[in-house]
Amino acid sequence: MPARKKSSAKRPKRAPKKAALRQPPVRRWWSWRFIGQLSLVLLVVAGVATAFLDAWVQKRFDSHQWQLPARVYARPVELYQGRQLSRDHLTRLLGLMRYRQDGRAAAPGSYALQSSRLLLHTRGFSDSDGGEPARLLSLELRDNRLQSVVDSRQPDKQIVARLEPVQIGSIHPRHHEDRVLVRLDDVPPLFIGMLLATEDRAFHEHHGISLRGLARAMMANLKAGRLQQGGSTLTQQLVKNFWLTRERTLARKLVEIPMALLLELHYSKEDILEAYLNEVYLGQNGARAIHGVGLAARFYFGRPLEELQPHQMAMLVGLLKGPSYYDPRRHTERALKRRDTVLFAAYEQGLLDGAAMAAARGRSLDVVPRGSAALYAFPAFVDLVRRQLARDYPEEVLSSEGLQIHSTLDVLSQYAAEAALARHLKNRDSLNGAVVVTAPHQGDVLALVGDRQARRAGFNRALDAVRPIGSLAKPAVVLAALESGRTLATRVVDGAVEVRMEDGQVWRPQNYDGESRGSMPLVDALAMSRNQAIARVGLDVGLASVLEALQRLGVQRDIPPYPSVMLGSLALSPFEVAVMYQTLATGGFRTPLRAITDILDKDGQPLGRYPVNPEQVVDEAEGFLMQWSLRQVVLRGTGQSALRQLPADMVVAGKTGTSDGNRDAWFAGFSGDRLAVVWLGADDNSETRVSGASGPLPIWTDLMAELSRRPLVLAPPAGVSMTWLDADGKRLSGKGCDGAREYPVRDAYRPRERSSCGTVDAMQQGVFKWFRGLFD
């Protein structure tokens, strides 16, 4: 630096005048010719760029496919004469579906209560059976039962109608965009009017840009000294949302303007408006971005766009200016002001008269609280749906093609299961639990609870808590014994057992009470859950037969070939236990448990079905004998307490289970139309101090009392007869004879020998004598 200063000091301060005069004239860097050439080049570049932009805009707009997540719906609620349904349950369902109570039920999504009569205007929906039209129903509701269900246009004819399925979940693309597509024809004209009145009054006049708007924005920006307003038309906003960033820069504006002009050149105002309505960003739900007015209506107001009232429409339109800034849940005052501004704009444009505006301004925001909707309310069940879907559909399809997944979830069953678990765990902080409820004959999973706090998404105990099942394994031993020719009356010994294992250890099972009760019928060993007796039977029959029976019942997991498996060292999840007991509940039909019935595409066309496909894996006779023996568990075994709470005519059957150290407590049981499995345990696997009978059984009983409508029918099938046998179970006997009991017995294993006591079957005797006469 100092050197430079030095040299500059040596430079003459002033150049001689003559030398300056001799210098050639300075050549200008520009000339008219140069400007002409440059303009030509720029024109060509601009032409090429415009042509490129034009092709790009058209291609992208034409091929634009909305990323639509798959939506999961609960089972539609069936309404028919005779259905048990309390008024509380029905109104709770209607509340969940955001049905509006009004005097006449004039529009879909509304209802009117008139004493025992309920007018219900349903919303229509698509299904693989053709779906359901929107219609006005008249329901007669008395004594917790639907006495009548008729279409108001045909009041003489009873019908089976359905409420639309409520959405319980969605499967998003990775960028978490979510939307519900709307067609322009379905958008209320008032909403369109409010939108244009607020955002772009000259929409139908301009060609993509508004010079007046741009000038106004420019003035405002000059005043502010920075880019503050954009003066964008709806078309420009669409271009920005579709293809550009949200930054307010001059460069973006320079691209946005020609793109908006090109868009208007090729597409109708209707196309542009519809695209705008579906694309616009309207808020955030956690990681999920709310796009489009269709989803926003549901997100903020819990109902479809067509059902919004003027004050709600105005709020939605107001949000366009700043979904976060005007968030009606977080900034109520600000949102109210903004909404009223929109209402005033609508009034100015003649869309609302003064009275309508005043009425709308007098309304509250009417926003539904976050988390009150059914969406995401049942995380454990939706987790099951996701797992079943993942087997058959790639993730890209699920997250982008707008599939409609119709699931088997029964909302009322789910609520009942959640409430029963929460109620019984109220003062047991160390315990957690899981519940699975199914309709056994169809294999439908009706409810799934994976946590004592059912709304909490996390570890799904119903599917992932793989815990020892205790005595729930014993029916497999009894089944193997029956299939080997034993009867339920066969005497077994409840006494000490010792099995030396390959590693030298000795297995010595003990009974729950530490006692051995000696000889007893096989059915009592199951009903009283006698470990030693069952272990002996299992060892006699052979461990391989027991393991095979377990697999046939539906256990798909690898089963370790240890005798302790027979008493429940086998670990299964509550869902797997439900699969196993499903086979018992149906009398021997293995029916895959399904959480999904149908899959429709985004237009409601059927894509796939998960049909009911039972497979008979246990003979009808043994299937019945197993049901009968599990009934004895409830009648006089470890499940007796259920009888005290259930109605006398509700025949149920089931089995308690408790693992070593009371770490896991189970009850699995069924009626004629419901199967439920309840598990209780501590997450850290510590001792629980509850048994299958004291913990899960009361929960199960509560559930059955609320959910089950059909008792288990225990009529012996062909080839099985109810038979009186003596105390040893080896001879025919009669009612009233000492020690005699009645058992269902396969005809093939019916003893021929008679005890000295008991009635003689006169008819049998007669037939026998008749044939003997042939040869006498």
Partner: protein
């Protein structure tokens, strides 16, 4: 002696009738006493019949399954589902459903015999000769019961 001859003749005639008795595919209708009859799901079943006749098998299946939800112990509905699966060329599923229909069917009679015939048809389509033989035998037994 005369009595013995008469009795032997009767027995032989009876056995002969049994051994030659063909399994007649009796015209099948909803068996009396099936819980479907008179229930709300009867209308769903009738809609399913219409859908099936129009070739809309998926819709028919969905309607029948809805009907089963309302009346899970209707033998007839499982039979209808079994017939549908046969038309959809799913013989294994049809067999399971026909057997399920048997689970709720009357213990003997033409209807039961027809269900066993349905099992036999499904098994034949699955190339399971043992199953076919068993089902035909059971059909004959049920048919005999129907005659008695």
């Amino acid at each position: 002696m005369v009595s013995r001859i008469v009795r032997l003749t009767l027995v032989v005639a009876w056995l002969a009738a049994c051994s030659s008795a063909p399994v007649v595919q009796a015209p099948v209708d909803v068996p009396a006493g099936d819980p479907l009859l008179g229930s709300p799901s009867e209308s769903l079943w009738r809609q399913a019949v219409v859908a099936r006749e129009q070739g809309e098998l998926a819709a028919a299946g969905r309607l029948l399954e809805r009907a089963v939800t309302l009346v899970p112990d209707s033998s007839w509905l499982y039979r209808e589902l079994a017939e549908l699966r046969l038309r959809e060329d799913q013989p294994r599923a049809a067999e399971g459903l026909a057997r399920k229909a048997l689970r709720f069917a009357p213990p003997t009679g033409a209807y039961r015999a027809a269900l066993w015939q349905l099992v036999a048809t499904a098994c034949a389509r699955s190339d399971d000769p043992d199953c076919v033989a068993l089902a035909r035998r059971e059909a004959r037994v049920a048919q005999k019961g129907a005659r008695q």
